[in-house]
């Protein structure tokens, strides 16, 4: 019987079938984040050990300061870091601590260190764990209670989601990035379009993407409502992974790759849902509202709630316009911005920083605009510095900061002031996401860089 990629990944991890559609699954890799380190205490209160400490990797990304020299941080930063350090030390869990040369955002450092492989089941208490699906891993975000379960059992109880395929039709024009593809999919499918499904991204535009671009896309599968995003792993992925520190060792490499080559949806596999996103004439995309589905082309205008498809959306659009300080019919291009953030698990890899730096030309950040670059990891930061990217950003007037989640979520105290407008390469434009009253426009690194120079939203192709 033909199987989807989801089926193949899932079936290989079943320890036990608990009920129809409900399985106990094996967990290969667990990235533990500092804000969830209290889960060690749940085990300790019950007298339980961490079953397989080597399967868990401790990461500090949400609460760490991104200030040079790591000054500052939030009032709760020290407490979470202490709980994490003590817990990892007590249970023999590897920790990529704040001053570790491999520190960074979980969804950047995991792939970068070769800790995530095709075929693995990967969990982390963060919804953007879907990122790891770009390498052909079955990966999703879990809650605190499930962290304790995974630590104690190296397993998770899960209902098999339905399967959905999003086919990108055609090849996008030059200058259209993976972020534009993700936003275009949101415009078509909506923020709830993938609920209850695992989404496989497919089509020539996806095959043409490098692994880092696929990570940007799978990262935002959760913004489409799915817990899981997937791209069938291919030779590009295998080449990208080869030789990384925790990639399969040389003596097992060929055997590993041979097994990974079977990880694709069979040609006649049937998906529960299919969607198509035409990308042949795609323009750069940007959000105007407070849901990631509030997307338009940068050449477009803010929509009118009177044209919304249903009353619930009409109310949502009106509320979003009010929060964002926008009028129906207003052009996005030319809208003044106060702040620019280039960073996050969506867009803070080396390829993203190269894209942003290239968009700078020799320009300078507009007067009055605060512009930050927050590399996704220490390794990304070092590589960017080796290429001189940091110098180009600094000379243009950007702050060059230490790795972490930073302004994407504000868990470390990095926030945008009320009423201020920010162009951000992150993943969520929710009300208050980047600070109470902050007005977020999601965009690609190239568009964010150009917005910093112009002091306004601009078409990066112009």
């Amino acid at each position: 019987m033909p199987r989807t990629l989801l089926d193949k990944l899932w079936d290989a991890q079943v320890i036990d079938a608990l009920a129809p559609g409900v399985d106990l699954l094996n967990v290969d890799r667990h990235y533990l984040l500092e804000m969830r380190a209290g889960a060690f205490g749940v085990l300790e209160a019950r007298g339980l050990p961490v079953r397989d400490p080597h399967r868990t990797v401790g990461v500090v990304d949400h609460v760490v300061s991104t200030a040079p020299g790591r000054a500052g941080g939030a009032p709760w930063t020290a407490r979470h870091l202490a709980t994490m350090r003590e817990g990892c030390a007590r249970h023999g869990v590897m920790l990529l601590d704040q001053d570790h040369p491999d520190q960074g955002i979980a969804h950047v450092v995991g792939p970068e260190l070769g800790l995530t492989h095709p075929g693995m089941l990967v969990l982390c208490p963060d919804s953007h764990t879907s990122t790891h699906g770009a390498l052909g891993a079955l990966a999703w975000g879990i809650g605190f209670s499930e962290v304790a379960h995974v630590l104690a059992t190296s397993a998770i109880v899960q209902r098999r989601p339905k399967s959905m395929r999003i086919r990108f039709e055609g090849l996008p024009p030059a200058g259209i990035t993976a972020k534009d593809l993700a936003l275009a999919a949101l415009a078509v499918v909506g923020a709830g379009g993938g609920v209850g499904h695992a989404i496989e991204f497919a089509g020539p535009a996806i095959e043409a993407l490098e692994p880092e671009g696929r990570m940007t896309l799978c990262n935002m599968a959760v913004e489409l409502g799915a817990k899981i995003g997937l791209v069938a792993p291919d030779e590009k992925v295998f080449a990208w992974l080869r030789g990384r520190r925790h990639a399969p060792p040389a003596e097992h490499w060929e055997q590993a790759v041979a097994s990974w080559r079977a990880l694709f949806s069979d040609p006649d596999a049937v998906f529960d849902r299919e969607a198509r996103v035409p990308v042949a004439g795609l323009a750069p995309q940007v959000t105007w509202g407070t849901s990631p589905e509030h997307v338009v082309s940068v050449t477009g205008v803010v929509p009118d709630p009177a044209t919304a498809p249903d009353p619930v959306r009409a109310r949502a659009w009106a509320a979003a316009l009010d929060y964002m300080g926008l009028q129906p019919g207003q052009k996005l291009a030319g809208l003044p911005v106060d702040q620019v953030f280039i960073g996050s698990c969506t867009n803070a890899r080396l390829s993203d920083l190269r894209e942003a730096a290239a968009a700078l030309g020799g320009g300078r950040v507009a007067p009055g605009v605060t512009a930050w670059v927050v590399a996704g990891s220490q390794a990304v930061k070092r590589a960017a510095e080796a290429e001189g990217l940091d110098r180009r950003f600094r000379e243009a007037g950007f702050d060059w900061r230490e790795p972490g989640c930073s302004l994407c979520v504000g868990a470390n105290g990095d926030m945008v002031a009320p009423g201020k407008r920010v162009v951000s390469t992150s993943n969520r434009n929710f009300v208050g996401r980047q600070g109470p009253g902050a007005r977020t426009h999601l965009a690609s690194p190239a568009m964010a860089a150009r917005a910093a120079l112009a002091g306004a939203i601009v078409d990066p192709r112009s």
């Binding site: 320890i15 608990l18 009920a19 409900v22 106990l24 094996n26 290969d28 804000m35 339980l48 080597h54 609460v63 939030a74 009032p75 709760w76 979470h80 492989h117 693995m120 208490p125 963060d126 919804s127 975000g141 809650g143 605190f144 209670s145 499930e146 304790a148 379960h149 104690a152 059992t153 190296s154 397993a155 989601p161 923020a191 709830g192 609920v195 209850g196 409502g225 817990k227 399969p248 060792p249 097992h252 490499w253 055997q255 590993a256 097994s259 849901s291 589905e293 619930v312 109310r315 949502a316 979520v409 868990a411 105290g413 009320p418 969520r428 929710f430 009300v431 996401r433 109470p436 009253g437």
Partner: protein
């Protein structure tokens, strides 16, 4: 885990699509406060306007719905972040059950993990219930019978059987999985043969 059997309480409409977990609990509350102190901040970004005054469009800001223990939400309720603090905040606010056409994935799991009951109903039924509870706010959620009862209405719902049993009996998920230790060990032994490249190595 806290049991859920039959619950009778006030239900409040939350007629917002794609209500995200940042709206349910702001990040500085989530990161900065202990679990027991999250309740007063549940749905803060909806209950209050930016100037700190109560949002007049929010049913939770006036009696009888300010005493709600049941929420009737919109599509994709609890989307976004996997933060379990969103569920803890609602729990601290007094919520036991959330009814909606669909739920954010991690939020849905987190409700069950905390002995709370998410109920999926067709969008038309949810809209009808939202209207009903504005004039007749009391609902009974009967999990053994899998039905919702309100004034002049009885609606059946379905909860996947294993989850239903877990809630009715207040079973402990970790404890249950630990009873399957032999199966876990057997899987790991087979897997070591199948995928030898995953075996732990010296760093």
């Amino acid at each position: 885990m806290q049991r859920f059997t039959t619950h009778t309480g006030i239900a409040a409409p939350v007629p917002l699509a794609n209500l995200d977990t940042d709206m349910i609990i702001r990040v500085e509350r989530s990161a900065g406060l202990p679990r027991a102190e999250l309740g007063p901040y549940a749905l803060e970004s909806w209950r209050f306007r930016q100037d700190g005054t109560p949002n007049p469009d929010c049913a939770l800001n006036r009696p009888p719905h300010d005493a709600a223990s049941i929420l009737i939400g919109g599509e994709n309720f609890g989307c976004g972040s996997a933060r379990e603090t969103a569920v803890w905040a609602l729990q601290g606010f007094g919520i036991r059950c959330v009814i909606a056409p669909s739920f954010g994935g991690a939020f849905h799991e987190n409700l069950f993990e905390n002995g709370m009951l998410p109920i999926r109903l067709p969008a038309e039924q949810v809209a009808a219930l939202q209207a009903l509870v504005l004039r007749a706010p009391e609902l009974t959620i009967d999990l053994p019978a899998q039905e919702i009862r309100g004034e002049g209405v009885t609606l059946p719902f379905i909860v996947e059987p294993l989850r239903r049993t877990m809630l009715l009996e207040g079973l402990d998920p970790i404890g249950l999985t630990l009873t399957r230790e032999a199966a876990i060990a057997a899987f790991q032994a087979r897997d070591a043969q199948r995928r030898p490249w995953l075996q732990p190595r010296a760093a």
